[in-house]
Symmetry: C2
Subunit: 220 residues, 2 copies
């Protein structure tokens, strides 16, 4: 690698925008690449060089678009929780029936975990990688989200619509099922997102003791 003096700059660096990359896309391209890599290799094992390579630039050039590696993680994780909470708010808004609210909440939960597998996956695995103002922010939102399910189930109990031994365990079961979806679901597999959401809705209702239409072994 001797810098021969006669050819001062053979190929000094790539043109600023080799393909149609409209500059506003750069940042979101970086975010997506980071998400993909964080999901596949973990936050700690992903280097800025990796992320750069995924979008066609060098590691240090990323700092023209993002402040730090940590910022990328924090954005993903806070965004995930905000979206889950917003989806849940929308889900319960359309009805007052506690069974229907639970079904819709669960469907929204499953839909998010199926459609945004990587975000959900990273969001669950990398909580410990967040630094402190951000980790608290994420944990607070996560608590809020859990509380919504627990209180819904408690309301169902009070209205004698649901029957469970512990609302806390029921809500954890339901949430944890959904979290699991993010680790095994693949688009284009045996089920569509809609089918999945509906089935998990049924399962959640069974968990809280609501009789769902019986499914004999062979009608699906």
């Amino acid at each position: 690698m001797s810098a021969s003096p006669r050819e001062t700059y053979e190929r000094p660096h790539r043109p600023p925008r080799p393909e149609g990359a409209p500059a506003a896309d750069r940042r979101s391209g970086i975010r997506e690449a980071a998400l993909r890599l964080f999901a596949a290799q973990g936050y700690r094992s992903t280097t800025m060089t990796d992320i750069g390579a995924a979008v066609g630039i060098r590691g240090p050039s990323l700092y023209k678009h993002v402040a730090s590696k940590h910022e990328l993680l924090a954005e993903i994780m806070i965004g995930t929780m905000e979206q889950l909470i917003a989806d849940n708010t929308a889900a319960v808004a359309g009805t007052d029936d506690v069974r229907e609210q639970l079904r819709r909440s669960v469907e929204a939960h499953i839909r998010y975990h199926a459609r945004h597998r990587l975000e959900a996956f990273v969001g669950n695995r990398e909580i410990g990688s967040l630094e402190e103002p951000d980790q608290d922010r994420v944990l607070a939102r996560r608590s809020d989200y859990e509380r919504r399910f627990r209180e819904l189930i408690e309301r169902g109990m009070a209205e004698r619509a649901f029957g469970v031994q512990s609302a806390r365990i029921a809500s954890y079961s339901i949430l944890d099922m959904g979290i699991g979806v993010a680790s095994w679901f693949r688009e284009g597999g045996e089920f569509t997102v809609d089918q999945l959401a509906y089935q998990y809705g049924d399962i959640a209702l069974r968990i809280v003791g609501v009789r769902t239409p019986d499914v004999s072994g062979d009608d699906q």
Copy 2:
């Protein structure tokens, strides 16, 4: 920190076994410390110095007892899967009734995830940190374990004891619920391990469509 020449060795290093550490315990002490640290900080963020400090020695001294950091992780993860499989085998051995087999399988699953929270937690989060002969070993055992639940549910369907839309989704739900336990359960909290196992057994039976004794809102 100048090494003054007159006091040649003020305190060169600790005595080989300062307290009653019977030398066979050293290795398991290291394994336990590593487990605790891997669970709390993640594998990648835990240094050999951290693990050494947790057992009262320096990082490099660990290599007198273990071959590598990776070996510690692999031992934890393979051991976890082997134990889960062994527990499952024992659980189904005592009965032929498919409902009872499912209940006992789920109870064993929950018991393991509650009693060995850290192993289960690390076992789920650090799969990607395993290097290659070991990652395959763990994934193969994990597949085997999942298959046991799925096939049990399929048998229950064939015998008309269970009614679900998809045995695969039912088995994932049940397993994922248990995995979640490892992340929130604390000994000495609201429930004992036995209560937890029993409640999750009920929930699993509800998921597969078995009528469990009705629980009205206020009888527990």
